[in-house]
Symmetry: C2
Subunit: 237 residues, 2 copies
């Protein structure tokens, strides 16, 4: 039986062997939610970058550039880190180059995995289905907030464990912690996340509409996967 494990922060990734596993990268507020919304509405490709300058250069190659640092859009970039920006970009079928505070770092740190998949509440069921079909060991990599554990990524990890367990065995205690948090909060995700420190920080940026959007489940049947440094949607159902 394949195993599911959870890495609650990218700072703990060295304790896990990603080799031979599917890594599901999650940054609910808001990188991986944005990416899901983008693919769900027609984005053709997303190229993630850990640094701003490499991302900025992609404009010359015809990419729209999306950049966020500390929750705010980077000056001179086309898109910030709101799912509504991505929905708009998707409708025009554009290619995107993206850099964010936490999400793109988590993708980079997971790149040794057999498959790197983008997960969010918006494509939860599609990811759960894809992972079950793959029948490989899974590591959910939470992007957290500057290395620290955050509530919304932990809740997503719990939600995915909830959909995979008991068809997968649990790799350590982190999946148990995430699962119990999710099961305890699932009827009221928005209130719980709004009370968290990360959301409180983002609230000052006036993005309550974004947070509420990002906590919706199963809006899109897409599974973005990293292939030769680019994310593309591999779901063809």
């Amino acid at each position: 039986m394949p195993e599911i494990d959870v890495c609650l922060s990218p700072e703990l990734i060295h304790l896990h062997d990603v080799n031979g596993r599917v890594a599901v990268v999650v940054d609910i507020l808001r990188a991986t939610s944005c990416m899901t919304a983008g693919f769900g509405s027609g984005v053709a490709e997303i190229k993630p970058f850990a640094d701003l300058e490499s991302c900025r250069k992609m404009r010359d190659k015809g990419y729209l550039i999306a950049g966020e640092r500390n929750g705010k859009k980077v000056d001179g970039f086309d898109l910030g880190n709101s799912p509504f920006d991505y929905l708009e970009a998707g409708s025009s079928g554009r290619k995107l180059a993206v850099t964010t505070t936490n999400g793109t770092v988590a993708i980079e740190k997971s790149s040794g995995a057999d498959h790197v998949i983008i997960g969010s509440f918006l494509n939860l069921e599609a990811v759960a289905h894809w992972v079950k079909e793959a029948a490989q060991d899974v590591l959910i990599v939470c992007a957290g907030w500057k290395g620290k554990v955050n509530l919304e990524d932990t809740l997503f990890a719990g939600a995915l464990v909830d959909r995979l367990y008991p068809a997968f065995t649990l790799g350590c205690d982190a999946p148990l912690v995430a699962l119990h948090c999710y099961q305890g909060m699932q009827d009221n995700l928005l209130d719980h996340v709004m009370a968290s420190s990360h959301a409180q920080r983002l609230k000052r940026l006036d993005i309550e509409k974004d947070i509420s959007y990002c906590l919706q489940q199963d809006l899109f049947e897409v599974v973005p996967r990293l292939t030769n440094g680019s994310l593309v949607n591999v779901l063809s159902r």
Copy 2:
């Protein structure tokens, strides 16, 4: 209002500033439970060591030596890592030198804090009371299992947050995660911990009696604190 924060693994301690804080170190299975039981039954002093050899040498200075690696007693040491060993040593009023897989490392990594306190379910209320009186910022440092987050230390963190909140503000999302786990599991701690991966590992060592002992709350009114490299009980009520 002072702040309470939780470091779910010693591998995340670099993200926290322990300076100016009280660090409450916790390794429920079993280092800090053992230490609490030892002080509660008459141990005069406990000297923690991260490495085996420094610990072993303390026998020449009249200390009983306690050593555990991977859940097992180290060959040639006087005590292993069972609270029952410590209760026995306590009754003879001896001084102990101790090294363990996770607990003593967590103590060492916390040593920059203003005060380093030993916490366990066995002295939960005494620690909560001491920390409230200190009225300083608090960081709960979970020892985990070889760097990974474990359930029982997370549950203790949640239990302590439960006793301090809302008199303390929450520093980040980890206290929220721990609190919700504890509140969801508190009526059945033993069953939940026995189902965890760490307990499953320890079960093979036949220590169910130890686990059940370590999950009892408020058996001892002791607060072991690190002073000049040694733990002593600072509670004089």
